[in-house]
């Protein structure tokens, strides 16, 4: 059985990717940001996931205003980095996991989440920057440490899906993963945020108090977060801070009780508050599970 073992929240600021691509990681401004992810990279190397599901948003790269899918799942075998105006980022092509992705699509659509399926899609910094932050710098001609299933969420045009809807989609993804027969260790990323506004006369807004409260509740009391109306996100965390709903897909895919493995927060990276968290599912009570499994075997024997 496949299982989601941990969830990762991470900002996906494009300037972080540019700093990495242009060799600026040792500059004090950027070192402050990158050093916050060193422990996470060690954790990731140790955890060695088989697959990562990455919830992110596209920024006028793969999707323009011609088609705006609310939830789009990448089922392709590979996802090339998009040209965002300065040429594609010098990172490897992202390998997909079509078998698990199509299994998830089938399962969650029957659970009433009407996904868009993408069998060909380019991915932008929204996805590749968190990958760099957690997997480290990877040479363009090398490969990422694990296959990835992209889940693009519309947070560009209002209204994005509600926080509650995102959380429930996470729940459906968890169910889908757990019904996949192969033994796979899966991690799920929620990306974007935290507080930031990059548009209009109020650009530059940062609300650290909001961010801290969001991270606290994400860890301990996510039900409190699913009720937040969109206007509160936009007012308190900035017009573009509404990206934070994507973290709730990740949280919904985890167990109710999780252990906070790590947290990092710094202001700013360009116009944004950088937030990062790792939440791990607790080990399942295997004794009880074995008991149930044994009971099932007995029942099967009696039936046959």
């Amino acid at each position: 059985m496949a299982r989601i073992i941990a969830g990762i929240g991470s900002s996906h600021v494009p300037a972080i990717g540019a700093a990495l691509d242009n060799g600026k990681t040792e500059e004090p401004y950027w070192k402050r940001v990158f050093s916050g992810f060193e422990k996470s990279q060690a954790w990731m190397r140790q955890t060695k996931p088989d697959v990562a599901i990455i919830v992110y948003n596209d920024h006028a790269s793969a999707f323009s205003v011609e088609m705006i899918p609310t939830f789009a799942l990448g089922c392709a075998a590979e996802f090339p980095p998009a040209d965002e105006g300065w040429g594609p980022r010098p990172v490897p092509v992202v390998q997909g996991h079509p078998a698990l992705a199509s299994h998830i699509a089938q399962s969650v659509i029957l659970d009433e989440f009407d996904l868009t399926i993408c069998n060909k899609m380019e991915v932008d910094h929204g996805m590749t920057v968190p990958m760099n932050l957690l997997f480290g710098k990877v040479d363009k001609n090398s490969h990422w440490p694990c296959p990835v299933i992209p889940l693009a969420v519309n947070v560009v045009m209002y209204p994005p899906p509600t926080g509650h809807r995102c959380f429930m989609l996470g729940r459906a993804i968890k169910k889908a993963v757990e019904s996949y027969p192969e033994d796979l260790k899966v991690v799920i990323f929620g990306t974007g945020g935290l507080s930031h506004q990059i548009s209009g006369p109020r650009a530059g807004l940062i609300n650290s108090k909001w961010d801290k409260s969001f991270l606290d509740n994400l860890s301990k009391d996510p039900q409190k977060l699913v009720k937040i109306p969109h206007v509160d996100y936009m007012r308190e965390a900035g017009a573009e801070g509404i990206e934070m709903v994507m973290w709730l897909v990740m949280r919904g895919a985890l167990d109710d009780k999780v252990d906070e493995v790590y947290r990092f927060y710094t202001v700013p990276a360009s116009n944004t508050a950088v937030g990062h968290i790792i939440l791990a599912n607790r080990a399942r009570k295997s004794a009880a599970k074995h008991k149930r499994a044994a009971a099932r075997v007995n029942v099967d024997r009696i039936r046959s």
């Binding site: 300037a15 920024h59 006028a60 323009s64 205003v65 011609e66 705006i68 040209d83 105006g85 300065w86 560009v156 045009m157 209002y158 209204p159 507080s195 506004q197 990059i198 548009s199 209009g200 006369p201 109020r202 650009a203 530059g204 807004l205 940062i206 609300n207 650290s208 108090k209 909001w210 409260s213 606290d216 509740n217 409190k224 977060l225 009720k227 937040i228 969109h230 206007v231 509160d232 936009m234 007012r235 308190e236 017009a239 573009e240 202001v267 700013p268 360009s270 116009n271 508050a273």
Partner: protein, 167 residues
């Protein structure tokens, strides 16, 4: 037809890119998207007004683009991820655009960000009536959650007279 008022119109200095703006601003955003290609950037730079004719913009939208009035573009349906491509075509960094939109110098804007960004205090609400979100944990959040109904009622009547004045 006048724009329908929404709860988020009370957020100061913000043009929410909603379904209506998305519809009205389709041409602006498709124009910006076209700038992803080098040949289009060159054609635009060679004759801006002529190039814009392909995108069915309204006269106001055309004027906003030609004048590089970024806030007006947002108001008329442009989205920041798209209009940023116009800024890049002009050779500007994103910080330059942010400074233009906020009416400050790039230097001052950069300093504000290094100092922790623009504070939410004083920037929460146009009407000045929105209390901090009750979803914030801690004492402040709880306080505002204590009696939201009575306050909301008082706000409603006042907000009405205010929006009437604005029109």
């Amino acid at each position: 037809m006048a724009r329908k008022q929404h709860d988020y119109d009370d957020i100061p200095g913000t043009f929410v890119f909603d379904a209506e703006r998305s519809r009205r601003g389709f041409g602006i955003n498709m124009f910006c998207m076209s700038l992803m290609q080098d040949e289009n950037r060159k054609a635009f730079k060679a004759n801006e007004a002529e190039y814009l004719k392909k995108f069915n913009l309204t006269p106001e939208q055309t004027e906003a683009v030609l004048k590089r009035d970024y806030n007006r573009m947002l108001e008329l349906g442009g989205n920041i991820y798209f209009t940023a491509k116009l800024g890049a075509t002009d050779g500007h960094s994103f910080q330059h655009l942010a400074a233009v939109m906020t009416g400050s110098t790039q230097d001052d804007y950069a300093k504000m960000m290094l100092g922790g960004g623009r504070s939410i205090e004083g920037n929460r609400s146009r009407s000045g009536k929105a209390a901090p979100s009750r979803f914030l944990s801690g004492a402040a959040g709880k306080q505002s959650a204590a009696k939201p109904k009575a306050k909301a009622k008082a706000n409603k009547t006042k907000a009405k007279s205010k929006s009437a004045k604005r029109k």
